[in-house]
Symmetry: C2
């Protein structure tokens, strides 16, 4: 279909390599041929075929991104990353694993086949064998959100300081005078879930508060889990009283809020709550929800820059320069946005 170097070469009477040089502005070319070639290229709307270039150069200028759910707060990370990547001449191959480990694996393999120059992975697995290829062939992988079990040499990641995040929530409650603080956690298998639980427990203990097993619920990061856990907490409230609940992910926060609303209880009078990544663009939510937030645009920024750096060193070491690029764990600090939902009020039990 489209025009290619060969056709331009034929039409212009010079060789393919000369045409290539003109198109890429490489090497010394006489003005005359340059103009002639450019004219023909324009006329026929020549567009270089990046696929051919990629094959030749073993470089696709494409970065793979796999996330469990684009609808999450994480979409903002993609936007920030996209800005950096595209500025640097990279495109994004995006896949949504739908919280499904098998789908994720499929995508990891697919992206490898498509020879992405690097991968950003928000995995839902605690180990991903499919990544072996990337490691063995020095295709850089940066983990975000969650770090699976991999050889420490490949623990390249940009994560939230999850322990700190939980501690901030607990401390916020304590400051208000709460003592019986429940947590709706993700799960204990993923690092992210684990760290948020640990941060909660550690912080409770540090402040001399008891960690009661009945107040630690596993909601598996989903809306339904948040809903169910909140229900359970409320139903069991007589035996296991609490005045505050910290919900450690966005979706679970939505679920927990739904459960509270259905039960007819008031926030924060009956239950105080701190959510996660729960941003209210509209300012209309009443009461305003206190929430831990990830510095998500920052994450996109940091991830993209880090990955580009890795891609570059990978290329250079490909050329035999033997550069060492030690894996980095980049840990970013969470923030807390204080609203009304975490208050301790007179009527709190």
């Amino acid at each position: 279909m489209g025009y290619n170097l060969k056709k331009i070469a034929e039409e212009s009477g010079c060789s393919i390599s000369t045409v290539s040089r003109v198109i890429n502005g490489k090497g010394r070319i006489s003005e005359a041929t340059k103009e002639k070639v450019m004219k023909i290229a324009k006329e026929h709307d020549y567009v270089p075929n990046q696929i051919a270039r990629s094959l030749k150069n073993s470089k696709t200028n494409t970065i793979g991104i796999i996330v469990p759910d684009i609808r999450d707060y994480f979409y903002m990370f993609i936007k920030a990353a996209d800005a950096i990547f595209s500025e640097a001449g990279y495109s994004i191959l995006l896949a949504d694993s739908d919280e499904n480990a098998e789908k994720e694996e499929k995508y990891i393999n697919l992206m490898y086949e498509k020879r992405v120059d690097g991968l950003v992975l928000a995995t839902v697995s605690d180990r991903q064998e499919a990544l072996g290829r990337y490691f063995r062939n020095s295709v850089p992988v940066i983990f975000i959100d969650n770090l699976p079990h991999v050889d420490p040499a490949y623990e390249d990641c940009v994560l939230l300081d999850n322990g700190r995040a939980s501690a901030m929530a607990v401390e916020c409650f304590i400051k208000e005078g709460h003592e019986k603080i429940a947590i709706i956690a993700g799960n204990e298998r993923e690092t992210t879930g684990m760290e948020r639980i640990l941060g909660y427990k550690r912080s409770m203990e540090e402040h001399g508060l008891e960690v009661r097993p009945g107040l630690v619920k596993m909601g598996h990061f989903q809306e339904a889990g948040g809903y169910r856990c909140m229900k359970e907490l409320l139903e069991n409230r007589e035996k296991e009283p609490f005045t505050a609940v910290y919900v450690s992910s966005y979706k679970m926060t939505c679920g927990a809020l739904r459960a509270i609303r259905e039960s007819g209880l008031k926030i924060p009078e009956d239950v105080a709550l701190i959510g996660f990544d729960f941003i209210d663009n509209t300012g209309l939510i009443t009461p305003s929800i206190t929430t831990i937030v990830q510095p998500i645009e920052n994450i996109g920024d940091v991830v993209a820059k880090r990955l580009l750096a890795r891609v570059k060193t990978a290329e250079e070491s490909e050329q035999g320069e033997q550069i060492r690029d030690i894996a980095q764990k980049i840990i970013l600090a969470p923030e807390i946005l204080e609203g009304e939902s975490s208050r301790r009020t007179a009527s709190g039990q």
Copy 2:
């Protein structure tokens, strides 16, 4: 780096083409060689190079998607589309044009260079010369959200029935007894903006209500525009009274709500409001906001299927089968979610 057909051929003692046949399961191969080849492939973790395949086959199995802002409600469209595309063996090359026509053009060209098999475009321009390449070379393009000026033969799109959307908003207000209804519109240049304005005007007239120029504001689809328009409407309220406002995009709805909040007015008592794509996952927003919504998952679904169909016919006609695939305008019906914000109350002026 990785293993390729050639190396496997050398190691197994058979030819490259035989190895290729084994890998692809094509042609008749003896069990013996099949096993031998497969064993070697497994051992060395052979992964087919899709770039090479793409070059050979002139087919990348990649679909480009360009949207103005992934953070929009549109992210859901991508999720739905991704499910269909990946099922069919296609990957998504995603780009966020950031509401910027030049960036958009750059991405359109880039994706063409990368030889996407098809493009889904939510354009912010009213004409995009860069698409000429796609049309001339029969690379299918489906427009969503907004249809730019292109040759009718290429008006392949999946759009909301924008006129109907506005009419639904107006009628909802009228039903409540509102008569002085303002609109915060996008702009008149894009089809989407235009149709929403027209739908508003037509519906007003059909119901015998006057369309007052002072109550038609252009917010250019952005949050800031929504805010500014709402401010203007409120400041001018003495001269140009109104009791209800229809805001015709999500971002502008956020801006308008902010303006109302800052002014200390109450919804719907002081101003009734209908928003656009304004979904409240949490159910916590008070008052609940009446909103027009696009059937966005449905859009993702329909777009993906339509594009895949086009890609297929494009391929077949490449093989000389001369199939006609007439452009389709697919228009989907909006829905309205009625909340409290559109009510007519006693204290409304």
